[in-house]
């Protein structure tokens, strides 16, 4: 199923490589290649402001998102704004850095647990900042990096935690889904070369 075809069924969603950031990054060489990572957690929320709920298995739908998530259903805080939001990822390493107050941008360590950061996938060993304009595989699903995620004041208000500044530049990656399928915690994550799989 092409992303274009399934777009008609759901809310306005930008394909990753159609986003200005993603399209600019595609032809630019570089980025880490010799890595392999792991999917640690999957979370979705049924609607804006609702607490995230952890899944042991999730269905990714190309052009739409993760079944049951607010950006799949069009009920997210930012749903009215077309953007790359089918799947969002964050590095466990960024959460670890917050927990050790590194760098010391706030009063002390911040525990931002996977259920609270409001990104869909928590991953380990994946250099997310290198993946704008790149294709990579999570289990059997193929994602495309569209743009860097950036922290929002909304998250800070929702959590009552000063996470805005400490998350800057390690807030994660917004992706579209090139090939859908089922993902589970423990799935391996690998970089894919080029456009053909």
């Amino acid at each position: 199923m092409s992303p274009e075809a399934s777009l008609e069924a759901g809310p306005a969603m930008l394909e990753a490589f159609a986003h200005p950031a993603g399209s600019a990054a595609v032809p630019v060489p570089g980025g880490a290649t010799a890595w392999s990572g792991t999917l640690l957690h999957i979370h979705i929320a049924p609607a804006a402001s609702y607490e995230m709920e952890e899944l042991q298995e999730a269905t990714c739908v190309a052009g739409r998102g993760i079944a049951g998530d607010r950006y799949f259903s069009g009920t997210g805080t930012y749903s009215p704004k077309p953007d790359v939001r089918e799947v969002t990822l964050i590095e466990q390493e960024a959460l670890d850095a917050l927990a050790r107050n590194d760098p010391p941008l706030q009063g002390g360590p911040i525990t931002l647990s996977p259920v609270d950061h409001r990104r869909n996938l928590t991953v380990r060993g994946v250099p997310l900042n290198h993946l704008v304009g790149r294709r990579f595989r999570v289990g059997s699903v193929i994602l495309r990096g569209g743009r860097l995620n950036f922290p929002c004041k909304y998250l800070e208000e929702l959590l009552g935690l000063p996470v805005y500044l400490p998350l800057y530049n390690r807030s994660g990656l917004n992706c579209s889904i090139e090939r859908g399928g089922v993902i589970r915690p423990g799935d391996a994550i690998h970089l894919l070369d080029g456009h053909a799989d």
Partner: protein, 315 residues
């Protein structure tokens, strides 16, 4: 306004505290601790059709494992309380926001006078718990038709002891705010209940010379001013210069929403303070009951407040 997390809480217990008031304990199915709160705070209960109702927390703020609310069945109400009485049985799931406090205790106060009318006593129960635990000076005046129809009366007796004054109209005892006496430094009055009780308290304390800053109240029903005739006006958006026309039969909030200037809202009655926004010039007709007087020169509540001819919004 601040965003608040919405949680799916489980009803741990539901028992009548009077024939018309249901006392609910809510717990989180996964987390051992709920977001912290202070006495006077309320939560939003979201109904299946998307409507939102506010309920004060009446439990112990020191107990993070559960929220307690009391819901009075309002036969003439807007349907939210009847839904809650029918559906919020033990084991049911309630969609509840993290708490917000528009009615806090004044930390520096030396003496607290709490006045509750009917179901309006709920935030005062939490206040009394904390004041009693801290050994601070307070008295709680509880106004109700009879002891049997006074919500959470057993709890109040246990918490307050001698500091509880029951005013039950069936027994011929009616609360007279004049009994509070003259204003005193460091004394703060907190009233919650029907509008007529709040009006009586404000009028009496005002006449006795109590400064407004020492009298606090909370209502969950907007003032009904039947003589108000909405007029059309124009709202100019400061950031873009766009001018939006607000017809007499639509709220400013509705018009903002139609133009994609989506601002979060909740009660749409002018009582919760979720949708307030800044304005720069224009004569605003404030119809909310949430903004303090000092804020009204540059903030307004677009769900109920309007303007004469035009207003420029800080959006």
């Amino acid at each position: 306004m601040t965003a608040r997390m919405i949680m799916k809480l489980r009803v741990a217990s539901a028992r009548p505290t009077t024939p018309e008031v249901l006392h609910l304990c809510l717990v989180h199915p996964q987390r051992p601790e709920l977001p912290a709160w202070t006495p006077g705070a309320h939560v939003d209960l979201r109904l299946p059709d998307g409507r939102v109702r506010q309920y004060s927390l009446c439990g112990d703020p020191a107990d993070r494992t559960r929220y307690e609310i009391a819901v009075k069945r309002e036969e003439a109400g807007r349907g939210g309380s009847a839904w809650a009485h029918r559906n919020l049985l033990p084991g049911a799931v309630a969609h509840v926001s993290a708490p917000r406090n528009n009615f806090p205790l004044v930390d520096a106060a030396r003496e607290h006078i709490l006045i509750g009318g009917g179901i309006g006593v709920t935030p005062l129960v939490a206040m009394a718990r904390q004041l009693a635990a801290q050994g601070r000076s307070f008295v709680l005046h509880d106004c109700a038709p009879s002891p049997a129809r006074a919500p959470l009366l057993d709890e109040l007796r246990a918490i307050c002891g001698e500091r509880l004054r029951g005013w039950f109209s069936a027994g011929g005892r009616r609360f007279d705010p004049a009994a509070i006496g003259p204003p005193r430094d460091g004394a703060h009055v907190y009233a919650c209940g029907p509008q007529r009780l709040l009006d009586a308290v404000r009028a009496s304390l005002g006449a006795a010379g109590w400064p407004d800053a020492q009298v606090h109240s909370e209502v969950f029903q907007a003032t009904l001013d039947e003589n108000f005739k909405p007029e059309p006006f124009d709202a100019r958006i400061a950031s873009t210069g766009a001018v939006l026309h607000v017809p007499a039969d639509r709220s400013l909030l509705q018009v903002l929403r139609e133009h994609g200037l989506a601002t979060a809202s909740s009660c749409e009655l002018g009582v919760c303070g979720t949708c307030t926004c800044g304005y720069r010039d224009g004569v605003v007709i404030h119809r909310d009951v949430v903004l303090p007087v000092a804020s009204r020169q540059d903030r307004m509540t677009p769900c109920v407040s309007r303007a004469r001819v035009g207003v420029t919004l800080d959006l």
